[in-house]
């Protein structure tokens, strides 16, 4: 879809949809929202809906950042301690690499 061809109101609806969709534990929607609407929100000359788009993009970015931090922390902890956790570590794992503790 080409954003250029959309009227401003539809841009806003689209941005809102992506923003709200992100709350269903779908951080990738937020990522798409941030990347896709970044130009609309911050680069384009002002128009009425832009302020709202801006808020949505900002909030999406914030949510995304939160997800990234949480996931990075968890993955680091998991990778580091999985072997030590023993039984718990095994049950937490979806695939256990062969031949590693």
């Amino acid at each position: 879809m080409n954003l250029e061809r959309l009227p401003n109101e539809e841009k806003l609806t689209l941005c809102r949809k992506y923003y709200l969709g992100g709350f269903a534990c779908l951080p990738f929607l937020w990522l798409v929202n941030v990347v896709w609407f970044f130009k609309e929100a911050f680069v384009k000359p002002t128009y009425t809906e832009q302020t709202q788009i801006k808020t949505y993009v900002k909030r999406s970015a914030l949510g995304l950042l939160l997800w990234v931090t949480v996931l990075t922390t968890w993955i680091t902890i998991y990778q580091h301690f999985r072997a030590q956790w023993g039984e718990v570590g095994d049950y937490l794992s979806f695939t256990i690499p062969l031949g590693t503790p």
């Binding site: 095994d90 794992s93 979806f94 695939t95 256990i96 062969l98 031949g99 590693t100 503790p101």
Partner: protein, 701 residues
């Protein structure tokens, strides 16, 4: 397009453009695969992992042929092209060298041991000094003074190498073409002429033996049971197989538990051995000597137990997996206590176990018994009876048996697992008074050579099979003694026992089958056709292996025991295979087992005259009770498991120098950049360059 024609096309193209006459694939030009490589694999128990493994994609190292221990410095410090794969002559396969390599493992990518042609004089045992230390009867509770081999260190030569963990692959290679290729490759490319650095390309090797299991049995059995990944994969399997047993009086095998009025004398031998490497376990003295003796004794007793109804039953038992913390005997005792076996412990009168009985020209055997249970006078009395029995049998055969010091505990033996359950009178026959005389206990050197199984030169395999060696004669004597003792012990008449005589030709043939080549004309007659092609052309491998696979010694002993103790029955092939005497027979199979043996080949024909053998031979599971009760961290039972693997492979090839590789990359990048520039230039000026035609913009060179 199917795969084949696809491959053809690729091959064709390679031929078209790049190869000369010989249309080989590129891989063949680079790699030489090793054919007979035997790896060291990973085993796990309740607390440890032992053995070796490579990385998933195989470990690569530059070959280095170790000439002496001092030469190690090149590998561990001074050599300029680490990591190395070290080729060891078997004389250098010692604990000190292996431990140095283990500690310098960042510079060691693997080890290849060239299998020996002669045995080292000083002895070599990769086992530990106190075999099955923690699962025998001598714990702190039983008698603190005897625990942990306090009185006698059974295997003083043991260097514990089999129980170390190595994080690089270790392979054994037969000394043949493969090793010749390796040596040649090393000499041609890697040998530094008087101190100089060898020039690239260097000869290198890659070894694949990646193991799936890790840490210990508890972990790997747990991972076996986790099934929620997309592609659940087992990582390890319990060691296990089958015990083989036969009784002189047929026992109803479907009725488990106590048999009223039945007393049995267990005559036992072990069925397994091991060495540092996976399927290289010749076990000549540690296993074959005992089991051949027992088989010969069983055969000698055949006619005497059929005619005379003895008042006790002799129960020939071959325990599997005894090397790995008494898998077979602990399971049989467990089943007896659990009323899951054909008899229970109350039925057991006494145990006579045959351990390592290779005589090596000597004529003395030692009768070991348990001093702790003998403190009980009734037990002591029975043991004394048994010993006297043995002594008098031996006396007639011109060799002596003696008791070692009364305070000495039992050597590692299956009897210990029976004593762990309850005091039972028992004697273990061994060729050593204190420590093992076997200098190669559980090693690859414990082979036919060590048992002095030598044949005159220029005998055909067929003649070797029927040649009675001195070793066989000695073992025949032992077998005769065992047979006579068992006969008297079972209530037979002492004077009649003098007529019992083991057959030395039979012993020779069995020794030949187990220690030289199992695939021989004699053994082929005795097995059923289903097993005939499973008989290997090598010496028998006595390693127990995992539960899913029946190891070679199990079925060999099963068929031998059936033929040696059973009788030929006039039964049709179909009924025989269905375990029936005749069409309406339904209950004979409870007491007997029937085998349709292949029989001898008719002259000038592949047809064989098969026959049906009726015997009391049965098998019972030899899987540690720990896996039955799912107690994978058990301290009382064996917990050994073997890791699974995907690929065991070795190959040698040349490696190019780093400089040449970088040169190739540099030239490639250069070519790419030049052509990018040139094409850009040409295409931007294509209008002008190709201007004579009607149409411009055809950008070629």
């Amino acid at each position: 397009m199917d795969l084949l024609s696809n491959k053809r096309i690729v091959n064709l193209l390679v031929c078209l453009f790049f190869t000369g006459v010989g249309c080989n694939s590129v891989e063949d030009k680079i790699y030489v695969n090793l054919n007979y490589s035997i790896p060291c694999v990973r085993l796990l128990n309740a607390t440890h992992q032992i053995g070796c493994q490579s990385s998933m994609s195989g470990d690569v190292g530059v070959l280095h042929l170790l000439e002496s221990e001092e030469n190690l410095d090149w590998v561990l410090r001074s050599g300029p092209n680490p990591p190395y794969i070290v080729i060891l002559e078997s004389t250098l396969f010692t604990r000190s060298i292996m431990m140095k390599l283990k500690n310098g493992s960042s510079r060691v990518a693997g080890v290849v041991v060239v299998a020996p042609t002669t045995n080292p004089q000083e002895g070599f045992s990769p086992h530990n000094t106190c075999p099955n230390e923690n699962t025998g009867v001598y714990s702190e509770d039983y008698d603190p003074t005897m625990a942990h081999c306090n009185v006698t260190v059974w295997n003083p030569l043991g260097n514990n190498l089999s129980y170390e963990e190595f994080d690089f692959p270790i392979f054994s290679l037969k000394d043949d073409n493969d090793t010749q290729v390796i040596r040649q490759c090393y000499m041609d490319h890697n040998r530094a002429a008087n101190g100089s650095v060898p020039q690239y390309p260097l000869c290198a090797m890659q070894l694949f033996s990646h193991m799936s299991a890790v840490t210990d049995t508890v972990t790997c059995m747990r991972r076996n049971s986790i099934n929620f990944s997309i592609n659940p994969e087992d990582v390890c399997d319990p060691l296990g197989d089958f015990n083989v047993w036969a009784s002189t009086n047929p026992l109803n095998n479907t009725a488990k538990g106590h048999k009223t009025g039945e007393t049995v004398i267990i005559a036992a031998a072990r069925l397994d051995s091991r060495s540092f490497f996976f399927d290289l376990a010749p076990g000549a003295e540690s296993t074959a000597s005992g089991l051949v003796t027992l088989l010969a004794a069983a055969n000698a007793l055949r006619n005497f137990t059929q005619d005379n109804q003895l008042n006790r039953t002799i129960f020939y038992t071959f325990f599997h997996g005894e090397t790995f913390d008494y898998i077979g005997s602990s399971r049989m005792v467990y089943d007896m206590e659990d009323n899951q076996f054909v008899v229970d412990l109350d039925n057991v009168h006494s145990v006579l176990e045959i351990g390592q009985v290779g005589l090596h020209g000597d004529s003395k055997l030692w009768l070991h018994s348990d001093p702790v249970s003998r403190k009980n006078s009734s037990i002591n009395e029975e043991v004394m009876k048994l010993i006297n029995n043995l002594t008098s049998s031996a006396k007639d055969l011109n060799f002596s048996v003696e008791e070692p010091d009364v305070t000495q505990p039992l050597p590692p033996s299956s009897l210990q697992r029976f004593l762990l359950a309850r005091p039972i009178p028992g004697v273990v026959i061994e060729n050593h008074q204190t420590s093992f005389t076997n200098r190669y206990y559980q090693s690859m050197f414990d082979n036919a050579n060590y048992l002095n199984l030598s044949y005159p030169p220029d005998l055909t395999p067929e003649e070797q099979l029927n040649f009675v060696t001195d070793t066989a004669k000695a073992l025949t004597k032992v077998a005769t003694m065992v047979a006579r003792t068992l006969f008297v012990q079972a209530g037979g008449d002492e004077t009649q026992s003098q007529n019992i005589q083991a057959d030395d030709l039979l012993v020779s043939r069995m020794l030949y089958s187990f220690l030289v080549m199992a695939n021989n004309s004699w053994l082929q007659q005795l097995v059923s056709s289903e097993y005939a092609n499973q008989i290997s052309n090598k010496t028998t491998n006595f390693y127990i292996g995992v539960t899913q696979m029946t190891s070679e010694p199990t079925f060999l002993v099963q068929f031998l025991l059936a033929n040696l103790t059973g009788s030929t029955a006039n039964i049709t092939k179909e009924n025989c295979k269905n375990q029936k005497e005749n069409k309406d027979d339904t209950d004979s199979k409870d007491r007997y087992s029937y085998i349709w043996a292949q029989g001898a080949a008719r002259p000038n024909s592949t047809e064989r005259d098969g026959f049906c053998v009726r015997s009391t031979v049965h098998v019972s599971k030899a899987v540690s009770p720990a896996f039955e009760i799912k107690e994978y961290g058990s301290k009382n039972y064996s917990t050994w498991t073997e890791s699974r693997w995907k690929q065991i492979k070795g190959r040698i090839f040349l490696v190019a120098s780093h400089d040449l590789e970088m040169l190739t990359l540099g030239v490639g990048v250069g070519v790419l950049l030049t052509s990018l520039l040139l094409t850009y230039f040409v295409s931007s000026k294509a209008d002008m360059l190709f201007s004579s035609g009607r149409e411009p913009a055809n950008a070629t060179y």
